[in-house]
């Protein structure tokens, strides 16, 4: 059997997730042992239109990018969304909170805002444009999880991505809970798989992996009350990576 061909494409993002692939160091050579990377603009000059697995980094913010993504989808057997920008729209979705996108443009471009080439549309995650076969969550992705997912796909197995929240991994690490230290941590409603990296470093979970399937936002409200905080403290944290996504907090 010939090695599957992998192509990596980037859209609107910081390219930090591709960087994590580079950061695999020696393991990257292992990956290259199991698959041929045929296109990867950030790291190599080769280009190719034939591939089995397309890895998509970044979110979709322009019509022309939607077209390009659809073309990639039509060529690839498996399409992977890599990182928060691709899986949930990531930080780029913050701009969707402005009801009027013109306002966004004005804020950055001032009087030039109406030039036609500045056309932008609300940020979309990859699966809002095409079908996605596998998700690698996180901002940036977790290298261990990425390699696990790649091995699964190369083996024809569906990777097991946690359905449970970050607290599970946080507790397994033996961390004291950050809420007790005054931080508004989104751990209880965000999908695990990162090894509770942020809470383990004393930094609240800000939700880069997206919500679990069935987050209990009512409970979150209760906790806000318990710690004498305001619901806005929670909302403003949830908006960072969760703009215009379910669940929304009312009240």
């Amino acid at each position: 059997m010939s090695k599957p061909k992998i192509a990596i494409f980037d859209f609107a993002c910081c390219e930090g997730c591709q960087l994590q692939i580079v950061n695999l160091e020696e393991e990257l050579l292992d990956l290259l042992g199991g698959a041929d990377v045929v296109e990867w603009r950030e790291a190599m000059s080769e280009k190719c239109d034939e591939y089995d697995i397309a890895i998509i980094e970044g979110s979709i913010t322009r019509l022309e990018d939607e077209e390009r993504l659809k073309l990639i989808r039509s060529r690839a057997k498996i399409l992977i969304a890599l990182g928060a920008c691709a899986t949930i729209g990531g930080i780029n979705k913050l701009k969707n909170n402005f009801d009027d996108l013109d306002e966004v443009k004005k804020c950055v471009y001032g009087k030039d805002a109406n030039k036609p080439h500045l056309a932008t549309q609300p940020t979309k995650a990859v699966d809002e444009v095409v079908q996605v076969d596998a998700y690698v969550h996180g901002c940036p992705i977790d290298r261990k999880e990425f390699t696990y997912i790649m091995r699964c796909l190369l083996m024809g197995k569906e990777p097991e991505i946690p359905e449970y929240p970050v607290c599970v991994e946080c507790k397994a690490k033996g961390n004291p809970c950050l809420w007790e230290y005054g931080q508004v941590c989104l751990g209880p409603i965000i999908r695990a798989g990162c090894g509770a990296r942020c809470p383990s470093n004393g930094f609240r979970c800000f939700g880069c992996r997206g919500y679990i399937d069935n987050p209990n936002v009512d409970a979150a409200k209760d906790v806000i009350d318990k710690f004498g905080l305001n619901i806005d403290d929670l909302k403003t944290k949830m908006v960072l990576f969760g703009s215009r996504q379910e669940p929304t907090i009312h009240g």
């Binding site: 042992g33 091995r151 359905e163 929240p165 607290c167 507790k171 397994a172 004291p176 069935n214 209990n216």
Partner: protein
């Protein structure tokens, strides 16, 4: 077996020699909390701790462990963590929990992975010197412990009474050259500590004898408390993860890059987590939060006791009380609520 007394400063010295000889884990400060960690200096050992963040179960059933390796088509090879170690500072309630786990992992089907670690351990238990904010060991009858440990330490002021309970314990304490046989006064002081703890480790008071809990639960299955509490349950499983008597696990395979060899791992799981009972085809047997919430309380108060001869599987460490953000996990609060509604007897 012998009961000795050792001055605190001599004990530090003893621990120092121990560290040089053996793999030692002990309770240490972690920020303003405490936890078990590899002990590098006797100075770091904190036997005056209130409660550890994680229960000592992680030494016998780690958060993740390799059960076996395999070669595709070539068979499976058991993997064991087979290095002896000393565990310093296990509180009585945690010791009771370990005793229960020993029973659960050895009865019916003997779990060689758990038991290898367990048999490799020399456990130095120590009586509680400072009650934690949520402990209720007194209510559960686990404030003092009589078995399971190799050595039991009791802080009686400027020295420890140390009782070696097993051969292993005797051997360990033999290195404590400055220990002297415990005199009557020391033993009396120890009795006093026990008497105090039997009553004093009780920040939440259970309104019945724990032995009554299975009977209480037998009539509480349809009680509204499950719905009421679970309404604000995150299904975060924190109550499972921090509990010294929770041991459910998940098993997963992973291959190496050669795609031919790999390992099978098990990792902590939790019955509160969404998907715990979900089978292929998306059917989930305890789909409702309330069902899962109830299951945990029943498991502690009824199911496990049925399996291991009556001992309630909540030892009153209070960790879940502290870990539960919406403040619903406290077993005493649940039991007391049921007692209020359903009465005793």
């Amino acid at each position: 077996m012998s009961v000795k007394k050792i001055a605190k400063k001599d004990f530090v010295e003893f621990v120092e020699t121990l560290i040089r000889k053996e793999r030692v884990f002990g309770v240490q400060a972690k920020g303003d909390r405490f936890d078990f960690a590899p002990l590098e200096s006797a100075q770091d050992l904190r036997l005056d701790y209130d409660v550890t963040l994680q229960p000592p179960k992680k030494f016998f059933q780690p958060p993740a462990e390799v059960l076996m390796t395999f070669e595709v088509g070539g068979g499976y090879q058991s993997q064991y963590d087979d290095e002896p170690f000393v565990l310093l500072g296990v509180h009585p309630y945690d010791m009771v929990a370990i005793n229960q786990m020993d029973e659960l992992f050895s009865q019916d089907n003997y779990d060689t992975h758990y038991m290898t670690r367990r048999n490799n351990a020399t456990i130095v238990a120590c009586d509680v010197a400072k009650p934690s904010e949520n402990v209720f060991a007194s209510s559960m009858g686990t404030a003092v412990v009589k078995s399971g440990y190799d050595v039991l330490l009791t802080d009686i002021g400027d020295s420890y009474v140390c009782e070696a309970a097993t051969e292993k314990g005797e051997k360990l304490m033999a290195a404590a050259k400055k220990a002297v046989p415990a005199d009557d006064a020391a033993l009396k002081s120890r009795e006093a500590v026990w008497a105090k703890n039997k009553k004093g480790l009780n920040r939440h008071e259970l309104k019945c004898d724990p032995a009554y809990l299975p009977k209480l639960l037998a009539k509480a299955y349809k009680h509204p408390v499950w719905e009421e509490r679970a309404k604000t349950c995150f299904s975060c499983g924190s109550c499972n993860q921090v509990c010294p008597t929770c041991y459910c696990f998940n098993v997963q395979d992973d291959v190496n890059w050669d795609m031919k060899t790999g390992k099978r791992e098990r990792a902590w799981d939790g019955c509160l987590l969404d998907g715990f009972t979900k089978v292929a085809g998306e059917h989930e047997f305890r789909k409702q939060r309330a069902d899962r919430f109830r299951h945990r309380i029943y498991r502690k108060g009824m199911y496990v006791p049925e399996k291991i001869g009556g001992q309630i599987a909540c030892v009153g460490c209070g960790r879940c009380v502290a870990a539960c953000l919406p403040d619903i996990a406290n077993p005493v609060a649940v039991y007391n609520r049921l007692i209020d509604d359903l009465g005793i007897g």
